[in-house]
Structures are given as C-alpha cells and as structure tokens.
C-alpha cells in the first residue's frame, strides 16, 4: 500500500497566511514535480493486471452471441469477463430511486446481463499483463446483437413527454404562484422565446480510473472521485460487501466537474476482476469511452415567457424545461430552479418535463440547473430589455426581489445589484453599443453583453478531525477531496488561523474513506462544509488544550481561567500568562491531543434563501463574413460571502467563466439519431475553449460576509463562475450582430446567414 498522502506547505512558506489571504496551493509543488499521484498512477504492493473495457456497438438491444475464444488466446490475457462469467450482482432496479441519496448508494451492476441499454455500455472486460495486450484482445471479441429500435432524438415532435416526481437534488418538479397564464396574456410587453441547449460532456483532464485490490474480504480502491463515500456505498451495494470493508483512496483528482461524483463502470470492473483473479487490477476509461460512460449534461428545450409592464416591471415569469433522460435511469436537471429566486414577479410558473432516450443517464455537470437554465433565462431577460428599450442592468435592478419570491423567506445576503454596478463601472459598460450590429472595427463586429449569476449555497453535512502533537505539528483529516479547487490549502488556512499557528505547521490528509466522513466535493459545498467542520474541530481542540493547560499538574499555565484562552503566534495565552504550544503540549499531552468537529445544517438553512450572486460582462468580436465569434474580454464580479483564499477562488471563477464561453460558443456532444452514439467523442471534435479563445478574463469580488450559512461566512464558488457566463457571451454576440441565436452553441453557421454578405 502507498503511504498516506500528506500535503503540507513548504517550511517557511507564507508563515502569516490566514483565512482570506491569497496563499499559494500547498499541493502545488507536489503537482508540478509529478509527485501527486492520480487514480491510475498509484503504486501498490503487488503489480496490478491491466483491464480494458469493450463497449457495445449498438445502443439498444441484446447480445445474441459473444465469442471470446480468440481474445482468451491472445498474448498476455488473463481474464475475459462478460455477462456470462461475471460475478453475480444485484439487479439494477427501477429508473427512479425512492430517495435522493439512494441514487448514490444503489447497486450499479456491469457485465450483468445480455441487455444493452446505451451505446458503448461495457459488454466485456479484458484483463492482461499489459494495457496494450488487454486493448488488443478486446478487439478480438466477436459479438452478434439483436438490435432494437431506440429513441435518440431529444427534440422529436412525437416523443412521449412525462413529468418526473422530483428534479435532481430533490427540488419540486413544478412551481406555480399567482396566475401565470392570465398575467402573461395581458402583459403589455411579452417575450416568448424557446432555447435549445445541447448535450455537453464534462471532459476532466484525468480520465476515470481505478486500481482495485482485495485482501481477503476487504477491498481497497485507489481512484479519482469527488466523494469517496459515494464510491464506497455504490461498490458496497454492487459487490454485496459491507461498506466498512471497502477503503477508497483518492488524494488527487485531475478535475471532476460533477463527472466523478458517482460510481462508474471502470471502478466496478476493476473490483470484480480483482476479486475473480485475486490480484490487483487497474482499469481506466479511454477518452472516447468517457463520453458515453461518465455522464453528460442532458439536451434541453427551454421555453421562457416574460410578461412586463412598460416600465419593465415583471408581472409574469414562466420557465418550462423539457430535457432528455435515460430510459433506464432518470436524471432531471433542475434548470428552472434558479428562475424561482432570481427576479421578482407576482405570477410565476416553472416546470420540468422529460423525454426518455436510449442513452446513458445524464449526470451533474458543473452547475446543474443554473448552467443550462440561465443560458435561457438570462438571454430572455436581455431580449426583454431590448424590447423595452431599457439597459439590461436597469431592467434587472427594477426586478430585484425583497425576499425569495417563491419561498417567501429573506435572502441570507444578496448583493447582485452591487455586482452589476461595480462590474459596469470596471468593464466600461457605458460604452456598450446601444444598437445591435452598429460597431465595427475592421472586419469585426463588436458587442457587449452581460448576465446575472445566481447559484444556491448549500451545506453538506460532514466532519473533520484536527490533531496536534507534542512538536506543535497539526494534522487535519477528512475524507474530503481536492479536485483541483484548492481544498488542501484552504483547510490548512482555516486550521492555521483558528489554532494560531503558522501555515507550515499544518498537514492536511484528504481523500481516504478511513478519515472522517464529509459530503465531498460537489454542489460547490465542499469548501464551506469541510472548512466548517475543520473550524469546529479546531474550536473543540482549543477547548481541550485550554482546559488541560489550566488544570494539568505539569502545566505552566495551571490555575488560569480556560475561558480566556487566546491562541496566537504558536502559543496559548491564558489570562496574563503565555506558553508556546510546543512546550505546553510536551508537558501536558506528550501523546498529543485531537478533536473532531462537524458541519450540520442549522435552522437558517431553512429560514433563509441562500445563494451566491454575480454579474458577468463580455465583449466579443464577430467576423462580418464568416460569423466566427471570438471572445475579446470578460469580467465577472461576484458576491460569494467571505473569500477564504482569493487566489484559488479566482482560479475557480475564471475556470467557470471559461466553461460559460464554451457553452455559449462551441461545446456540444452530438448524438447520432440513427445509431444512438455520441459522434464527436474525442477532444479534437468536442471543442472546449483553448488558450487562444480566452484572451482576457478578470474576476472581482464584492466584499460580503454571510453569517447564515456557516460560521466562516463563506459561500460556495466552484460553480458560480459558469452560472450566467454563457448568457453574457450570447448577449454580446447579439449586441455585436443583431442576430439572436437561441440554439446553443452559437457556432458560425448559425450567425453568418443573418449577416449581410460582405
């Protein structure tokens, strides 16, 4: 087994660093020197065999024949596993689980039947001495299928539409307030616009990978996951093993974006094969396999209807979402949910409906709900502003709600207006071309656009352990993950501040199911939830140290009042007396002291509407002939509570904004409507923005502390950056050209037909 991953700041690095300081990542040197080990890279005691998955070449039907003889004879092959010889696993079960958590804990059998539910679903696993041998042998397997007609058109006019019982994360499917239809029909100004958003794929840089090793009936899996508890629970159900017999190790993750929240086939395949062979097995998905097997954002049609009076006051807001889902497992992205809280209007309707397709299930892709929903809503608001002849910012300010317009509770904090005003000033919004298509620089049409950002602020219950040894060395432990966001660093900062010790006295251990359980990295709650648990653990540890210092026979501070404890500069001061922690611990607790702390949802989780806000501003240039749209610059201004580390926070937000650029201009996973496969399943054909597409992105923060969400006053920011960012770019394209494209992504073929031929 590898030694436990420990991340620690370099000695002497930023000794004064505290919460709120732009501290360098403490795991940065490990990463840039190649010492941070990722899912496929861990070295374990016994040399693992290598697995390669073969996927189905049909999208719906069943396997009639599978001939593995040639594959079994191929050089290096140890095992060919198919539904005929895979260990017995539980049934997958119903498309919808009884509760939301069961989505993560249910069994997810692979190679379990002759049925094929989606294209590229695993039909065989070949295990060989080398990856190359396994991959080659997989191609020697001969399959004969009975193909059944499938549904592959997310906008088929004759598709059967149904109403799910809930959306993702358990939000109500629909909401209705006042009389939407009545108010909309009499509104003096109406916008009724439909937007199409495509399938998208997460494409983290690191593919999904796992190394599984059994010791008796105990399993250890090194993998790449955002939430170790989910992988542990899913594997326990699938393998029929008690969860406590499964250890998940995931210290470094090469990006997740929601694609690594749940158990995927490579991990199950590795565990099954390792058990059969009684030998460690490692399996990774190829880039191509990730498109079908590691989640996607569903394709949608969204209808937004806005009714307003002539002054721009909204009287009716309607947002109706029709999205794709998988026939065998439901996933309903909550794309109309942000509309429930963003603008005031007395009459409101939001709905979510689904169309079953024969694809794999959709998954949580960075800002599920907001990323897709705000593309529609925030473009519709822009359309309304133009119709009214109002500045888009003035229109939004006019419809700023006093309280959450649907829940009726106050906002814990809401500084959207400040973000828009600060951003407008910084960006030079006053220079916006008032008439679309009116500004030209050489062969480029120039446009400005903006959009609001909103993202729910959540807390995921969990705990952490903080220990201090007699040398004054502090260790922070949690099963929390750092998916590239900076978790290691901010947890060290929190502990350093709360315990009054230098940053380089803190060691952080994460990503191991043997450590205290957290809700992991998801829903942007990772930082606030785990930092809250660490904060509380530090408070408990301080109490423990102070009490011992005041009472222990060997303590130089004995007899002081423990209530007046003050931790700073590596020392404890009780009343008038002070002693360094190192000397103190050596006397009163040579074995060290430790404490646990937790994060729980308090009363304010229900009695306040909690969101982070922001405003995006974009300038684009569109070629007058070809319609090529290129970002020129972008600014995001965010009010997201207390910023724990402005450096890592800024990186998160820039990354999110780049996602917005991708969603607006280029990202689309194309589903072939005949074969049911994702056609452009590699990074040459699935375009994400590259350096040349992102010339200048700036981030600012509006100071904010929010005491309702957590004791640190922080809010989640991992997804806020791509909430509304795409709409700002889309609105800028409209401002540049006068061509309103409601079919994302806005590729040049959708723009240039609307431009006069040059």
């Amino acid at each position: 087994m590898t030694s436990d991953p420990i991340v620690q700041a370099t000695a002497g690095a930023a000794p004064g660093a505290r919460i709120g300081q732009p501290v360098d990542r403490i795991d940065g040197i490990l990463k840039v020197t190649g010492r941070a080990t990722y899912g496929y890279e861990h070295r374990i005691g016994r040399a693992p065999a290598h697995g390669c998955i073969l996927g189905a070449s049909i999208a719906r039907g069943r396997i009639l024949e599978i001939d593995v003889r040639e594959a079994e004879r191929a050089p290096g092959v140890i095992l060919v596993m198919t539904h005929r010889n895979a260990p017995d696993q539980p049934e997958f079960g119903a498309a919808v689980t009884a509760t939301v958590p069961e989505v993560f804990t249910r069994a997810r059998p692979v190679l379990a039947s002759e049925r094929v539910r989606y294209h590229d679903e695993p039909v065989a696993l070949v295990v060989a001495e080398s990856f190359e041998e396994a991959r080659h042998a997989a191609r020697l397997i001969r399959l004969r299928y009975e193909t059944e007609p499938g549904a592959f058109d997310p906008v088929a006019p004759d598709a059967e539409i149904y109403r799910p019982g809930r959306t993702n994360a358990g939000f109500p499917t629909d909401s209705e307030h006042g009389d939407f239809e009545g108010a909309f029909s009499v509104a003096p100004v109406q916008i009724d616009a439909s937007y199409r958003t495509p399938f998208e794929s997460h494409n983290p840089m690191e593919p999904h990978a796992a190394i599984a090793e059994w010791e008796g009936d105990r399993l250890t899996v090194h993998t790449a996951t955002q939430t170790v508890a989910n992988i542990q629970a899913g594997l326990a159900s699938t393998l029929r093993v008690p969860p406590e017999n499964i250890r998940i190790v995931s210290p470094f993750i090469g990006g997740g974006f929601g694609a690594k929240l749940i158990l995927h086939p490579e991990t199950i395949c590795a565990a099954l094969a390792a058990r059969v062979l009684n030998r460690p097995v490692k399996v990774a998905l190829t880039r191509q396999q990730m498109f079908a097997n590691a989640g996607h954002r569903p394709a949608m049609r969204q209808r937004v209807r806005l009714g307003a009076d002539r002054d721009g006051r909204l009287t009716a807001i309607g947002h109706e979402v029709l999205a794709s889902t998988a026939r065998f497992e439901e996933f309903a992205e909550q794309s109309a949910v942000p509309t429930r809280a963003l603008y005031a209007a007395p009459n409101r309707r939001t709905t979510h409906r689904l169309i079953r397709l024969d694809t794999n299930r959709g998954e949580w892709m960075r800002a599920p709900g907001e990323a897709s929903g705000l593309l529609a809503l925030e473009c519709a608001i822009d359309e309304l502003a133009e119709r009214l002849g109002l500045d888009p910012i003035a229109l939004r300010i006019r419809n700023e709600p006093e309280r959450d317009p649907e829940l009726g509770v106050p906002f814990s904090s809401r500084n959207l207006v400040a973000c828009m005003r600060v951003g407008a000033e910084r960006f030079g919004w006053r220079d916006r071309p008032l008439r679309p298509g009116s500004r030209r620089e050489g062969r480029w049409l120039i446009g400005y656009g903006m959009a609001a950002a909103i993202r729910g602020n959540y807390l995921g219950p969990g705990s952490a352990r903080v220990a201090i040894d007699a040398a004054g060395q502090v260790t922070v432990q949690a099963d929390m993950t750092d998916i590239g966001t900076g978790t290691y660093t901010i947890l060290a900062q929190v502990a350093a501040e709360r315990l009054g010790v230098p940053l380089d006295a803190i060691r952080v251990m994460l990503g191991d199911s043997r450590l205290p359980r957290t809700a992991g990295s998801g829903g942007s709650w990772g930082a606030t939830s785990s930092a809250t648990a660490v904060h509380n653990a530090c408070l408990a540890l301080r109490q423990r140290i102070a009490t011992a210092a005041a009472s222990h026979a060997a303590s130089p501070l004995r007899g002081s009042n423990a209530i007046e404890a003050h931790f700073a500069d590596g020392a404890l001061r009780l009343g008038a007396r002070s002693e360094s922690l190192e000397r103190l611990l050596a006397r009163i607790a040579p074995e060290g002291l430790a404490a646990e702390g937790s994060a729980v949802r308090g009363e304010t989780y229900r009695t306040y509407s909690q969101h982070a806000f922001g405003a995006h501003f974009a300038e684009v240039a569109v070629d007058i002939d070809s319609g090529e749209a290129r970002l020129r610059r972008m600014l995001g201004v965010f009010a997201a509570g207390r910023i724990l580390n402005p450096k890592t926070a800024r990186s998160q937000l820039i990354g999110g904004m780049v996602w917005g650029v991708g969603a607006a201009l280029m990202e689309e996973t194309v589903l072939d409507r005949r074969h049911g496969h994702f056609v452009n399943h590699d990074l040459a054909e699935y375009h994400v923005p590259v350096h040349a597409d992102i010339p200048d992105v700036d981030v600012m923060f509006v100071p904010e502390e929010d005491d309702k969400g957590n004791p640190l006053g922080a809010k989640g920011i991992g997804e806020l950056g791509n909430c509304g960012a795409g709409a700002a770019v889309a609105n800028a394209v409209y401002n540049a050209t006068g061509v309103r494209v409601r079919d994302f992504p806005i590729t040049l073929d959708k723009i240039f037909p609307g431009l006069a031929a040059g």
């Binding site: 070449s57 050089p75 190359e132 991959r135 080659h136 191609r139 191509q288 062969r443 002939d625 070809s626 090529e628 290129r630 201009l665 280029m666 194309v670 072939d672 005949r674 074969h675 496969h677 056609v679 452009n680 399943h681 590699d682 040459a684 054909e685 375009h687 923005p689 590259v690 350096h691 040349a692 597409d693 590729t747 040049l748 073929d749 240039f752 037909p753 031929a757 040059g758």
Partner: protein, 328 residues
C-alpha cells in the same frame, strides 16, 4: 492496437522496399496521426518502417529559384523557415493555423500530406465506413456531417482531407518527389497525389505500394500577393470548416494571375480551375470576386448539416480576394 514489428530504415530505397515487401507494412515518421489510428485499430499495420531518421530534413534552394523541402522536415521548421515566410507566406500561414505547437514539432511534411480524414465515422471502428471497410456503407451520409465535403465527394464517401499545408502547396503548384521500391524516383504534381473517392474511397492517393515521398518542391513563388485564410469553430487547434489559399496578381486594375485552392470542402486539397478561369484577365473588384466564388462552388452539393459550407466558402473566397487586392 495490433501487435506489430518495427524496423528503422537504413536508406531511402531500403525503406521503400521494406514496405513494399509486406502488404500490411506502413511508413512511420512523426506518428501524430498513425499512432492515434492504430490505438483505435483504424490503422492495423503489422510492420512499421521508421523513416524519421532518414536524411530528408533539409530545405534547400533549387536552381530555378524554388525550394526543395525534405519529406521529414517538421511542420514547425517549415513554417519558421525565413525563405518560406518571405517567399511563400501562405504556406507558413497554413502550417501555423494547423494543429498545435506540439504536433507541428513532431509532424513531418510527407506525413501531413498523407494524414487521414477526421470524419468521426471513419474514426469509430463500430460504424459503417466505406473508406475503412469497403462496401460497409457511409454513416456520415444522413448522419452528423457538418464538417464534410461539398465538392468532389461521392455516394460512397463525403469525408474531407484535413490538411492546411497541402492546400497551400496546391495553390503553389508544388511537386511531390518519391522513390519507388526498385529505386527509381518519380515526380508528380501535388494535384495528382490524392484521389477523389468515387467508388473506392479506401484508395486515397496514387502512390504505389512502398512508394515513399522524399521531398516536396515548390516552383519559384508566383507573382502577386498570397494569403491563407482558415475559418474554424475556435481560434486554435480546430480543423478548417473552410479554408482558402489564394495568390493574386493585379496589374492596371486587371487580374493577371490567380491561384485558388480550398480546404475543408473536398476529399482532397481543392484547386479551383473554375474560380481561376472566372478571374483571368477580369477587372479586380467585387463583381469579379463574386463571379469567381460562384464559379468555384457551382458544382457544390451540401446535404444535411454541411449545407452552410457552400455559402461560407463563397464568402471566404470573396473576402480573401478582396483582402489580397486592397488597393486595386
């Protein structure tokens, strides 16, 4: 990837003979395209002859004022060569608009010419493809064919040739030098290197078994101004939806010489005699350019997603011609 054997070529003739001797042998140079396709088992050679170390890495002046470019000159070196940049700027522009810096460092001149199509159905062994498995059908027809051909395609295949460099070389009337397995050398115009698909899309070029490209020669630069314009879905590292390589010489307001080639529109780099004919001796100006663009695309067909390319190509041609003659 199928198991394969490997040898390092010791000489030009030996290399050609080694590949000719085995039906499933292939040359490998930079490997930027071949290795990817081998991993997908789209390419399944049983033997590789590594020609990357052959002495074919020089760019030399020819006696008539052109350039002789060794087959193994990396794309990055060719793009950076001062003679190329000053005398054949469209070639340098084309090279720099293609791939990424890392790939350009590795990719060879000959390999660039012979790279395979990016058609996603060709690149997916699970899909029908007449180019990959003759007779299996064309999944791109009726499928997602936004990046496909509008000129020169056939019922059997609508894939496009992905090279930028080759489009520029086509406009420059480059010639391709080869060596045959028996040691004879031959030269063919670049326009005769690639084949149109017809009923045999699996046959992509007119090279004999084992015939190896040793060099590309450029004649002296044509008179006039040069330009390579590439239209694509993002600013870098994307294949051309449409590209234009153009050379235009104007004298006294009339077009004396025009060379037009297009990329991203056809199964091979597409030299447009129609456009050149429409420009010959005409007055430089928008009317002539529009006529040339219409002529270039007069035989174009776009069924499905790809239909937009016809108008896009016309716009690209008109604009390229206008940009080349700013003070006509």
């Amino acid at each position: 990837m199928r198991p394969f054997t490997y040898e390092r070529a010791t000489g030009l003739r030996e290399a050609a003979a080694a590949v000719a001797a085995r039906p499933d042998a292939k040359f490998i140079a930079g490997g930027t395209n071949l290795l990817d396709l081998m991993k997908l088992e789209i390419e399944r050679p049983t033997h590789l002859v590594d020609i990357s170390r052959l002495p074919l890495r020089r760019i030399e002046e020819t006696s008539d004022g052109g350039l002789h470019i060794g087959a193994q000159v990396p794309n990055s070196d060719l793009a950076a060569d001062a003679r190329v940049r000053t005398r054949y700027p469209l070639l340098s522009q084309a090279l720099l608009s293609g791939a990424s810096a890392q790939l350009r460092n590795k990719a060879s001149t000959a390999g660039n010419l012979l790279q395979r199509t990016r058609c996603p159905y060709f690149q997916d062994a699970g899909m029908p493809c007449n180019k990959r498995v003759p007779g299996s059908g064309c999944a791109a027809r009726g499928g997602y064919n936004r990046a496909h051909a509008i000129l020169g395609a056939s019922e059997a295949c609508i894939a496009v040739h992905p090279s930028d460099m080759a489009v520029a070389m086509t406009a420059l009337d480059a010639r391709v030098e080869t060596i045959l397995p028996d040691g004879r050398a031959r030269t063919l115009p670049i326009g005769e290197l690639h084949r149109l698909p017809g009923d045999t899309p699996h046959l992509e070029n007119n090279l004999a078994a084992g015939e190896m490209i040793t060099a590309v020669t450029l004649p002296p630069p044509p008179p006039g101004r040069q330009l390579y314009r590439k239209i694509r879905d993002r600013a870098s590292y994307a294949f051309a939806l449409v590209s234009v390589a153009a050379v235009v010489e104007v004298a006294s307001g009339r077009i004396r010489n025009a060379r037009i080639a297009m990329g991203g529109v056809a199964p091979k780099p597409w030299r447009s005699a129609e456009a050149e004919g429409a420009l010959a001796d005409r007055a430089a100006g928008d009317r002539s350019y529009a006529a040339a663009a219409d002529a270039a695309l007069s035989d174009a067909r776009g069924d499905g997603h790809v239909a937009f390319k016809i108008e896009l190509a016309k716009r690209a041609l008109r604009r390229s011609l206008a940009d080349l003659t700013p003070d006509r």
